[in-house]
């Protein structure tokens, strides 16, 4: 037997390769079992890209369930709060073409909103607390309720259950910390005292420097 193998180079090569693949296969198989990751990492990664507004507009009771649904093959364009940016990021992650937002589930809005309870009108029914997915509403039965603006995701879910309709969704104010420069619009016409973005001070003295050179 050994002799036959030794004398036949093709056979020995085949045997060697076969043996190697069997050995590595076994190692890989073992590793797959031993180092199995708990939970579905893809769900986590998709969830990390979703805006966590938890509004349920996608048709799921929160962002994580939608992430799970995407893993199970659902469309990636159902999250209105995330808008196109989220769809693109998801498409990037899943390596699929990015569709545009399915407006059946809602429209994307640039303006971030936050719930505000007109406190004098609140009757303390606690309905809104039950609706809020992030526990952003404080209050107790028969007590006035209030929204913790920092924790409110602007999901809109508390507005409808309020029996006295005292919850408003107000746009988030940009304060100095939240303010940022915007990208220049191409070939904009600068206007004095109107928009800060029209600023382009630089290159101002070039004419002068040319003059100087000429002089």
């Amino acid at each position: 037997m050994i002799d036959v193998i030794l004398q036949n180079p093709i056979l020995s090569a085949l045997l060697a390769l076969g043996g190697l693949s069997a050995a590595f296969g076994a190692i890989l198989g073992f590793a797959a079992v031993k180092y199995k990751v708990d939970g579905d990492p893809l769900v986590e990664r998709i969830d990390a890209l979703l805006p966590q507004t938890q509004c349920g507009q996608c048709g799921h009771p929160g962002c994580k369930p939608y992430a799970q649904a995407i893993v199970n093959g659902e469309d990636i364009n159902k999250c209105p709060p995330g808008g196109q940016a989220t769809i693109n990021a998801l498409a990037d992650l899943l390596d699929v073409p990015a569709p545009s937002l399915d407006t059946e589930h809602g429209e994307y809005s640039e303006v971030k909103k936050v719930a505000f309870i007109r406190e004098e009108e609140c009757i303390g029914c606690t309905k809104c607390i039950q609706a809020c997915p992030t526990d952003a509403i404080l209050g107790a039965a028969k007590q006035m309720h209030t929204v913790i603006a920092d924790e409110c995701t602007g999901c809109d879910l508390c507005v409808e259950p309020c029996p006295v309709d005292c919850i408003d969704m107000i746009p988030v104010q940009t304060d100095l910390n939240a303010w940022k420069w915007t990208l220049p619009t191409t070939n904009q016409k600068p206007l004095f005292h109107v928009v800060a973005n029209e600023l382009n001070l630089i290159a101002s003295d070039r004419r002068n420097s040319d003059d100087e050179k000429a002089a």
Binding site: D47, P51, Q52, T53, Q54, G62, C63, K64, P133, T134, D135, A136, D150, E151, T153, T174, D175, L176, A178, W179, K180, W181, T182, L183, P184, T186, N187, Q188, K189, P190, F192, H193, V194, A196, N197, E198, L199, N200, L201, I202, A203, S204, D205, R206, R207, N208, S209, E212
Partner: protein, 782 residues
Amino acid sequence: MTSLTRVWDIPGGIHPPENKNQSLQLPLGEIPLPPLLVIPLNQHMGTPAQPVVQVGDSVLAGQLIGAADGTFSANTHASTSGTVIAIEDRAIPHPSGIAAQSIVIQPDGLHAWIEKEECADFRALDRLELLDKIRAAGVAGLGGAGFPTAVKLAPKSTQVIDTLILNGAECEPYITADDMLMQVRANELIAGTLLLSHILHHPEKLLIGVEDNKPKAIAALKMAIAAAAVTDPEAKKIQVVSFPTKYPSGGAKQIIQILTGRETPSGHHSADIGVICVNVATAVAAWRAVRYGEPMISRVTTIVGEALQTQRNIDVLFGTPISYVLEQHGFDANRASRVVMGGPMMGFTLLDLDAPVIKTTNCILAPGKQELPPPAPAQACIRCGLCAEVCPVSLLPQQLFWYAQAEDFDRLETHNLFDCIECGACSYVCPSSIPLVQYYRAAKGSIRQQEIEKEKADRSRQRFEFRQARIAKEEAEKEAKRLLRQKAAEEAKKKLAEKTIATSEPLEALATTTDIVAAAVAKASAVQISADEQKIKLERMVNAAKSTLEFAQKPLVPNKTNPVISEEQLVKQQVRVKQAALKLAEAEKKLADFIATQPELAAPEPLPTATTPAVATTTAIDDPIAAAIARAQAKLAISPADRIRSNIESLHSRLAKAEERVAEAKADGSINVAALQQGVDKLREKIAETEAQLTEPGANEPVAVKAEKTAAQIAIEKARQKATAMANKSDGQKRAEQIQALQLRLQKARERLAQAEAENDPNIEAFRLGVTRLEEKLNEIA
């Protein structure tokens, strides 16, 4: 003392026209007190100060009006004496044009100071005390960023500071504020340098870096050093280093590189490489804070531009509206292309001229339309690479531009976007006039915003998941409770059902149970296949059937005395009797068949006569199993009546309570009346139902012994066991045992009967019957 010190060069850089002469023609000026001072609470980098005065308070110059909020913040002081007339959002000099909380002071024109705490010798004070004084005076970086100075002067203990640099480069065109300051306050600057050196544990090198386009300032500093050296030998250590003018050599990281050759690594502070760099004006402010106890309330600012009649440097109080400053310098709005705070490279257009001068206002530039024309429209990038050549931090501005346009934040970060000092050199040289810096600022803002949003999203996720978990837990608890209740209810129902069956159809149930037991016994004995055994088995079956029949007949006897029993029930019972008789006939036939097929079993034992059901009683009782079961069933049949009665009682009491409550609710007109009434109705229904149960046949039969179903089951079980055991015993043994047991039972029965007779129990009839039956049975066996 000399400028022979070696200087290094920085990469890139540009040489824009300096335009510094305009503002240096006149000496340092001052302007009259404005009619109103608007002092924003966030003139520095970090958290805004918190107001500590109220509207209507009168304040003195240098009085604290805004207290620092945390370490990374700075105190704010009243710039003059007067009255606080408002604390509200006012326009501040910020590229966004957003208003921010400010304290508005109406000056009284006296400019009366608070009491100042002077300090002749700072060396007598502890370092921490000195830092406290500087912090209390609200000193923040006057170079442009407004970094709280006390924070800067307290490096971590791991950072060994060997070089202190006083930044007097002032590289941006037009601005001459530091130049002017160095000329007129050179002595104070040298004293301030020594103070900072003391606070920083006397670093090896004390350097004042000045661009070589400020010869007057350099000369003044050198004179001041010579003068100071007379009294303080440390002053000799101070070197004034002049280096070639180049924009942007005044950036902190740039001047450090120029003076020490050390590069600050990306993402680090200069203190990490042993250098602290402080603006010259800041050093003077720190000195004044310590020496004279004077909080920072004014600064030297360059007022320049072709749209102004007078261009000069002024020492101006913080809070002075820029419109007022401009007015004092002959501002012609028609000639101005815009008003800029800061220089032409790094400044920003002011959206509201009523915004005040603040700590970081180093220049107010009001250029003419020719001087600073609107930028040419941006063209496409032609990839000339000029921007990369001039970048002082050796970034790749072009790449950054592409990525910023594409909002590719990951790549921007890997290309070190955050190292960009926004100097504008790249935009300055860009032949396509692309506003590069604005792209970078926007991208930086977006990245920061994204980070904030990410953090918020993470928090929302956490809160959401926590809530889900909490709800799930609550649900699980509820579910568990519900299941428990359900189980209890089911059990109760089962009990009730069994009892109902037992009570309403005691005979039928008994018959079937007996059959089951018989079957079990048959099975148990089936192992022995001998014909003998089989015959015995069959005989037992016959016996069982007989006992069934007997029991089926039994209720008829007491019922005769009970007139409540309806005609229908009697019919039913008769039917049952018939059924039992049929079964008996069947069993007998089987036995006969068996004997017929087994001829070897000679001389068959005389079959127990079953001529008429009425006479069959004794034989039936013969079977111990059937008897035990009968007892158990009887017990089952007995208990429900009691139970139902007690049920009814409790229901009645509940009803009474509920009715009370309804009355109460009605009395005080509660909204719950309807609900309560409903509860009462339901209770009534229940009582009616239970009472109906009680009147049902069987349940009505008088009972003395209360038994539980489980007890009955145990009895049945025992009987079964006995039966299997019996099946294996010899006839003689069996009989002896039977007789013994019967005698025992008879005795007990008699006792019970006697008791019943004594108490005139209504069950006396039943007891008597039991005793007679037992006696008969015993006679039969014996």
